[in-house]
């Protein structure tokens, strides 16, 4: 049994007229101790998915309108607020992009960590304090003892994110949702934080759902990847397969859009034309079709399902693309198309 199994999740937000579906039939799993990525551009629904899992989408702003979130076999969507509170922290912890808004600015770091420990684990004041120092040392904060008295604004962005990681790990959760945790950080600090998260997750056998827009971060961290586009998962693969044998034209486009430091400097980048659809005006068929260079009439008619990729049998790779179906089932795309799209022209 997977540690977390999200089934056909659907989340809607209230909009000026009616509602928009930000998460539209999303299903994925995270196994115990595994690091899984959810990658996509702004507005694709990756954060809304994480918030839905955590039970953070509350009416009237938004609502989970369908599906199941099975954590250790229990559907979190059916739990009472009280039961859910017991799962948060101890079962699932979340780290957000901006530690400045998730930390309380008027309480010291020490107070905030010990509060969590006392509330969730029932530790005494003294035991909580000792544990708090251990936690800060674990996230490699120098002079941990004295840092307990610091307020969030007295710490740098990287330090604050370390504190957030310490708090997330404080109750030994089985799963951490890490939502764009290094996006606000400089690249050398990002390297420190990712290194830390990778080590700690491995040491404590904690599973991580890594939510990011950065394919480079995914490549170095995750074992499996889900690519999201316009509210749906459009490709799922082992990380190595996703980067070396991407199956969905959207993924080809993403990989062709980023210049790479380790390759010979190429010609022009190969961006994806246009931009993602508005949530209020979703195309009827494949949601990527309006931007896809390989789309045919079929693509506009019906949304393709997320199905196993036939090109790489037995690897469990899935895609949501009519063109990538087997030729006898009407597919028309091949690896040559992929390379043409993904690689840069030689200068």
């Amino acid at each position: 049994m997977a540690l977390l199994e999200v089934r056909d999740l659907r989340t809607e937000f209230r909009a000026a007229r009616g509602s928009v579906t930000a998460v539209d039939g999303v299903s994925f799993t995270v196994d115990a101790g595994e690091m899984v990525a959810l990658v996509g551009e702004s507005g694709c629904g990756k954060s809304a998915t994480a918030q839905s899992v955590m039970g953070l989408i509350v009416p009237p702003a938004g609502q989970v309108t369908g599906g199941q979130v099975l954590f250790e076999g229990r559907d979190l969507l059916t739990l009472s607020r009280r039961e859910l509170r017991a799962v948060r922290g101890k079962g699932i912890a979340m780290i957000f992009q901006d530690p400045m808004t998730s930390l309380n600015p008027v309480l010291t770091i020490g107070k905030q960590i010990t509060e969590t420990l006392r509330a969730h684990l029932g530790l005494s004041r003294r035991a909580a304090r000792t544990r708090a120092v251990e936690l800060l040392e674990m996230v490699r904060i120098p002079a941990a003892q004295t840092r307990l008295a610091a307020y969030p604004h007295q710490l740098s962005g990287g330090m604050r994110q370390r504190v957030m990681i310490a708090m997330a790990l404080s109750c030994n959760p089985r799963l951490i949702l890490a939502d764009e945790i290094t996006t606000a950080l400089d690249v050398t600090i990002q390297a420190q934080i990712l290194d830390l998260l990778r080590d700690l997750a491995r040491e404590t056998a904690t599973a991580v759902l890594l939510i990011t827009h950065d394919l480079g971060v995914v490549a170095g961290m995750a074992e499996r990847v889900n690519v999201m586009y316009a509210g749906q998962i459009v490709e799922r693969a082992e990380t190595v397969d996703l980067f070396h044998r991407p199956q969905m034209p959207y993924t080809w486009g993403l990989l062709g859009s980023v210049p790479r430091l380790d390759l010979v400097r190429g010609g022009r980048l190969r961006p994806i034309a246009g931009r993602p659809p508005e949530l209020t005006a979703m195309p009827p068929g494949c949601r990527f079709a309006p931007r896809c260079a390989h789309a045919r009439d079929t693509c506009a008619d019906a949304v393709p399902d997320l199905v196993l990729t036939h090109q790489i049998p037995d690897r469990g790779q899935l895609n949501r693309c009519w063109g990538m179906r087997p030729a006898d089932a009407g597919g028309w795309l091949s690896d040559e198309d992929r390379f043409a799209e993904q690689t840069m022209e030689a200068r």
Partner: protein, 335 residues
């Protein structure tokens, strides 16, 4: 490298100070954001300026354009010293030097139409008639990939990528020969970012622009730039030709910076040897003595605390400010 290209812009010993309130004192403290920067930008090249938040890269760009008054140093543009130039002559000069801003949401007046926004610089810098301005604006809109039918629309009707095209059109409409682009793609999603990078590349070639491209994304900078300057805490620590600098970084900070960039390939990522820096960038209010990088540097010795390293001036133009630089011959050390 061999044929000397004339220098369009020369920056010498540039310093910019900010006053920040000090606790328990009425006298503000002095924050030196840029602390003695030398740069040369050759006509027709794109110089990338990279570094992390607070390293002074944006401040340097603004001080070059005299949008911020430097507290020391000189900026010479096409032979004219800008720091001592009076208001009217500086304004005339501005027509030739423009800026593209990072945030396409904040840098466009929401109450002006796209057309008005793009025509505004013409109103300041030229005596074109209304019809002439409109024609010029529409020509520029087409140049940056905007439909000229959008002349009467407002910024909020456009996506981030399109707003950045408006920002670029605004910078280019007066026909500048030098443009400072301050993180122009940082706020954009990758697929849109690539569109704008390609546009800048194409415009630079077509118009023969000279550009200072300020960014923190090293992969984008390498893709776009001819030469690169690496800044740390208000100083330039290394300058060199793009490929030389990436293949063989000589300053330890450059090396660490390059090795911190994640590469979108799991096989490469798992095999890489990373230099992970410890600690944070020190406060510019109280920078370390000597070499400003020494508090995070794994090679630091006593001399680094006592003596400020100066940029070398070797024949190949690959300049580095370090007491213990990496040997020049090491290939592919960064990645």
């Amino acid at each position: 490298m061999t044929t000397p290209v004339p220098t369009l812009l020369q920056v010498r010993d540039l310093a910019v100070d900010f006053k920040v309130p000090r606790r328990g004192s009425l006298r503000p403290a002095r924050l030196r954001a840029v602390a003695g920067v030398d740069l040369d930008i050759r006509r027709g090249e794109i110089l990338g300026v990279v570094g992390e938040s607070g390293c002074g890269k944006s401040t340097t760009g603004r001080a070059i354009l005299q949008l911020l008054r430097p507290s020391r140093g000189s900026v010479t543009f096409d032979g004219t010293e800008l720091t001592t130039l009076g208001g009217r002559r500086m304004r005339a000069m501005r027509r030739r030097m423009q800026m593209i801003f990072q945030d396409p949401y904040a840098s466009l007046n929401p109450r002006m139409t796209i057309g008005e926004l793009i025509e505004e610089p013409l109103l300041v810098h030229t005596d074109l008639s209304a019809a002439g301005r409109r024609a010029k604006a529409q020509e520029t809109m087409r140049l940056v990939g905007l439909s000229d039918r959008w002349h009467d629309r407002y910024p909020h009707e456009f996506s981030g990528g399109q707003r950045q095209r408006v920002g670029i059109a605004r910078a280019l409409v007066s026909g500048p020969d030098f443009v400072v682009a301050d993180e122009p793609v940082s706020a954009l999603d990758v697929s849109v970012q690539a569109q704008i990078v390609n546009l800048l590349e194409q415009l630079q070639e077509e118009l023969g622009l000279t550009m200072m491209f300020i960014a923190h994304d090293l992969a984008v900078v390498r893709h776009l730039c001819d030469r690169i300057a690496v800044m740390y805490l208000g100083t330039v620590v290394e300058v060199g030709g793009c490929e030389e600098l990436y293949q063989s970084p000589r300053h330890p900070y450059t090396k660490a910076l390059l090795s911190a960039v994640p590469i979108p390939d799991p096989l490469v990522e798992t095999k890489r040897q990373r230099v992970i820096l410890t600690g944070d960038v020190p406060s510019p209010l109280d920078p370390p003595s000597g070499c400003r990088f020494r508090t995070r540097c794994w090679k630091a010795q006593e001399v680094c605390a006592t003596t400020v390293p100066v940029l070398t001036d070797p024949a190949d133009g690959h300049r580095v400010a370090c007491h213990f630089p990496e040997p020049a011959t090491v290939a592919a050390a960064g990645v």
